[in-house]
């Protein structure tokens, strides 16, 4: 009797969201998998040919896609590290006892609100005109030049802008984690004579492990999926040196009209990223302290 009731509650609590989620995300995704076996331009009235695994096989000889995979990996690894370090730093500052914390919290959060073409326009101005100007005035031409014209620096520029955007965003989640550390635990540590760093490393960090898991996962998946910044800032250039996977797939589907092939790439992309991020979640989850 009791068990049956529990099951009913389970269904009642889980099914509504699961239903919406299935119709909006899962079903379209499965349909997308189906399209990856077809050669088609995406318009229902135009011809479709079933090509089996051809689209998938083709991916492995697509040099441009493979190099976009490399860029994305490089970009993601570096960005995730920097964003999390800075985001956590921000969160520690704004949860400290400093008087300016409230103002700072708002200021740091704002960048995420600017996106799209305006984001690209402003940062292009900074990396091109402003940097050149600073270079001319200070004479430090080897750092301050047009970053977007240099393949390596264009990638750095993308990391800078992404960090600028995401750090304040990820800060919000870290704040939540830090705030949920019970005061008395920290106080107890202080009474025991632990200094600032000791408290941070041995008391606070273990307690905010759930936040780490979440933030790492969110930055990982956001960086892997990076699109907006890519399109509006570098457009993949110069010479494809900053073309990321999402942009490559998007171009395949919407610019070159190779819908089936683009979907196949998307599936491969999904499997690859899912593997990496889930490994990450598994690793960090193990370190979480259950209360």
């Amino acid at each position: 009797m009791r068990k049956r009731k529990d099951k009913a509650w389970y269904v009642l609590f889980v099914i509504p969201l699961l239903f919406v989620f299935t119709t909006v995300v899962i079903v379209p995704f499965v349909i997308g998998i189906g399209y990856s076996f077809i050669s088609w331009d995406g318009m229902p009235l135009n011809p479709k040919t079933f090509v089996g695994f051809d689209n998938y096989i083709r991916i492995f000889s697509d040099k441009r896609f493979l190099s976009s995979v490399t860029h994305t990996l490089l970009f993601t690894v570096i960005s995730v590290l920097i964003i999390n370090v800075i985001g956590l730093g921000f969160a520690l500052v704004v949860t400290s006892r400093l008087r300016i914390r409230n103002a700072v919290r708002t200021m740091l959060f704002m960048p995420y609100l600017i996106g799209g073409l305006i984001l690209g326009y402003i940062w292009k101005f900074i990396f091109t005109d402003l940097f050149k100007m600073i270079g001319e005035i200070t004479g430090i031409n080897n750092i301050f030049f047009s970053w977007l014209l240099n393949p390596r620096y264009a990638l750095v520029a993308m990391i800078v802008v992404t960090t600028w955007q995401m750090a304040g965003y990820i800060m919000i989640i870290y704040i939540n984690g830090i705030q949920s550390i019970p005061e008395d635990v920290v106080e107890a540590a202080k009474v025991d004579g632990a200094g600032f760093w000791r408290t941070l490393l041995h008391v606070k960090f273990p307690l905010i492990m759930p936040s780490f898991t979440i933030c790492l996962f969110m930055t990982l998946s956001n960086c892997f999926k990076i699109f907006d910044v890519n399109v509006s800032l570098t457009g993949g250039g110069p010479n494809n040196s900053t073309e990321m996977m999402a942009m490559n797939i998007y171009n395949e589907i919407f610019s070159l009209n190779r819908y089936g092939y683009g979907q196949a790439k998307a599936i491969v992309f999904f499997i690859a990223v899912a593997t990496i991020t889930l490994i990450q979640v598994a690793i960090t989850k193990k370190r979480e302290v259950e209360m």
């Binding site: 318009m43 073309e243 171009n251």
Partner: protein, 433 residues
């Protein structure tokens, strides 16, 4: 006992969602009725705007088009049309940026507009299954020769206007007629550079960087479309074609004597030109709108890119009107009526000429006041000094996805002109696959 409370909460939740979802049962009768005023619970606070029960299908058409610049004016025209005929015309708004993608998704899901715009060429060819036959429109005889879009022997697209691109130049810095070929072009670049002025400017956006300027050597071929086909098939190479070899020389000169176009945005390009910091830019007559905030104190004109002495401007129809073949017969008829009205009635003419600022493409219209650049274009056209826009027949997406990266490489490294042509040729083969 307490279960009751919970169940109440959940039930009300389901109800809220149901409300949100089932708000409007009337708007799903046919293909295009989505645009009917919605009466969902969520919008009930805006009842004042909800019209009376929507009229029959053919009493209303929907227009979706890419030229953002004329959105306001087109809406005014739609209103005028409703006043004259009683047929409601709704204009959907969009960015120029992702128009094609939005249109395709809507057409593909049976929620397409009645009347829409496309660039004639690769775009209209791809969507030809969705284009209604417009061959029976009464005013076709007035449309300038070869300006309508014809696919498989049927007229499917009605031209908006003419546009032309080439070298927009400052007449007080570059005397009229002084640049006629490669040597005079390079001399001009050098002279201007010596005077501290940028002689010629492209800009970083894909079409302004390569898409337009590369059109010229194609247009100078005897049969441009045939050349594109052969290029895509790998049967010819740009390296063996004199017009392209000359084009590469031009590009090398541009790289050597002018500001790197990758550091120039469209806004900067036009700003530099308007303030006399550049003597010429590769642009079209659409750029004139960018100068309206500036006090331009010189006369400007347009000339051809003097490739192998070319003196013809690239002039063509950038956009055509199309009618959705998947709409109901009544809607198609209503769509055709609207287009006919736009091209034959006095009000329609007033809107096209005065409000949209279009260059006339039908013999029954005349434009009272054109800006200087459009004036230039229309003079070139009147004199027959024009070449076409074969670039609209290039494989879809090639400019953004393949040509731009190659050109970026050209402008950031010391890639030779010949290698540049080799890579451009490869790009065509890849894009055509």
């Amino acid at each position: 006992m307490k279960t009751k409370k919970i169940i109440t909460i959940l039930l009300s939740l389901v109800l809220v969602m149901a409300f949100a979802l089932t708000g409007c049962k009337g708007g799903d009768k046919g293909t295009n009725n989505d645009n009917q005023p919605t009466k969902s619970a969520d919008t009930s606070d805006k009842k004042d705007d909800v019209k009376e029960e929507a009229p029959k299908a053919a009493e209303k058409i929907v227009i979706f088009q890419s030229k953002v610049e004329i959105t306001d004016q087109l809406e005014a025209a739609a209103k005028a049309y409703t006043e004259e005929t009683g047929v409601e015309v709704e204009v959907w708004g969009t960015t120029g940026d992702d128009y094609l993608q939005q249109l395709k998704i809507r057409l593909g899901n049976n929620q397409g507009p009645t009347v829409f715009s496309l660039a004639p060429g690769a775009e209209s060819e791809e969507l030809k299954a969705y284009l209604a036959d417009l061959s029976d429109l009464t005013f076709l005889g007035n449309v300038a020769e070869n300006m309508e879009d014809e696919i498989d022997g049927k007229v499917v697209g009605i031209p908006y206007t003419m546009e032309g691109f080439g070298v927009v130049y400052n007449k007080s810095l570059v005397p009229e007629g002084s640049v006629t070929d490669y040597d005079t072009f390079v001399k001009m670049l050098k002279d201007q550079k010596a005077a501290g002025i940028n002689g010629f400017s492209l800009s970083q956006e894909s079409y302004f960087l390569i898409g337009h300027i590369l059109n010229t050597p194609f247009a100078l071929q005897d049969d441009p479309y045939d050349y594109i086909d052969k290029l895509v098939a790998g049967e010819v190479s740009m390296v063996d074609t004199p017009e392209f070899v000359e084009f590469a020389k031009f590009m090398e000169a541009i790289r050597e004597y002018t500001v790197n176009p990758l550091e120039v945005t469209y806004d900067k390009e036009t700003g530099d030109f308007a303030t006399g910091k550049s003597a010429s830019i590769h642009q079209g007559n659409w750029a004139y709108g960018m100068f309206s905030d500036y006090d331009v104190d010189f006369e400007m004109g347009m000339m051809a890119l003097p490739l192998l002495g070319n003196n013809k401007l690239a002039v063509a129809v950038p956009t055509c009107w199309y009618v959705n073949s998947q709409a109901t017969a009544e809607e198609i008829a209503a769509g055709k009526d609207f287009i006919t009205w736009l091209y034959t009635s006095e009000t329609g003419e007033r809107f096209m000429m005065e409000e949209f600022g279009f260059i006339p493409v039908v013999s029954n219209m005349e434009s009272p006041q054109l800006d200087p650049l459009s004036q230039s274009v229309s003079e070139y056209a009147a004199d027959g000094n024009t070449i076409g826009w074969p670039n609209s027949h290039w494989p879809a997406g090639i400019v953004d996805v393949y040509l731009k990266p190659v050109t970026e490489e050209f402008f950031t490294t010391d890639l030779s002109g010949t290698d540049f042509l080799v890579k451009l040729t490869e790009a065509f083969v890849q894009a055509g696959q």
